[in-house]
Symmetry: C2
Subunit: 152 residues, 2 copies
């Protein structure tokens, strides 16, 4: 029997807010084990490192793999405030994430429901269950506020 | 005037062979600066780390960014023995690689000329010049030998 559903989006949102406070694009991600344990909670770090691959999702997947000492996160869930890009979408498949929960859609840079739709191709070799639109207003609002402040 | 064309595929192949010797899928990658300086030369490390995102291309992009202290590798070239997957293709776009040279095509897992064709979508925001099929027999041969040995 599956444990009762717990949302980890508030933690992902907290990571996104912390990223914004560091001057990073506010996206946050959380990896949760099959038992419901948080294995990693991360925010964007592309500027700080600097590393164009340091999206919140990539950092969360890498940190969770390091913690488990495994190349695959079988049965784990990934929570992320924004629709993952093509890079992160393929990484999610490589890591064999079982369930992907995300907040806001990203028609400009997304890779799941728009653009290359990476997980819809057989080349992905794995497709998680996907639930989109969770706390979408809060997730999108953080990004909107961030970019509005930038433009001032 | 552009400097005379120098192939960096032999170095990428050397990295791929070193990866095979470590028990990793034999793929190698090299990032070269606009002046022709090798900024990074890497092979797959997904098993050793363990990290499903540690493809040769990702490690090369990250190492080159770390070396330059920059989020973008403007004007740089990436040489890789195998057609990049969707993850690496999008990372190449994020890093603003100017020219992508690769060896063997990868109809099963590629993300450039097959499957999601990540760089053909406007969501990639950047498309490098692409030259495919360089030393393709040598690049594909390494992979074939590796997987044949595995099956024995």
């Amino acid at each position: 029997m599956r444990p009762p559903f717990t949302t980890h989006m508030p933690l992902a949102l907290r990571e996104a807010r912390a990223a914004a406070a560091r001057g990073e694009v506010p996206v946050g991600a959380v990896v949760v084990s099959p038992r419901g344990e948080v294995l990693a909670a991360t925010g964007n770090e592309t500027r700080a490192r600097p590393d164009p691959t340091a999206h919140a999702e990539m950092l969360a997947l890498r940190a969770a793999c390091a913690r488990l000492g495994a190349e695959r996160l079988t049965g784990c869930a990934l929570w992320v405030t924004l629709e993952p890009c093509a890079m992160c979408a393929a990484a999610i498949a490589h890591a064999r994430i079982a369930r992907l929960y995300y907040g806001a859609s990203d028609p400009k840079s997304g890779g799941i429901e728009t653009g290359p739709r990476v997980l819809d191709h057989p080349n992905a070799h794995h497709r998680p269950e996907i639930v989109a639109g969770l706390d979408a207003d809060a997730c999108a609002g953080l990004l909107r506020d961030f970019f509005e402040t930038k433009r001032r």
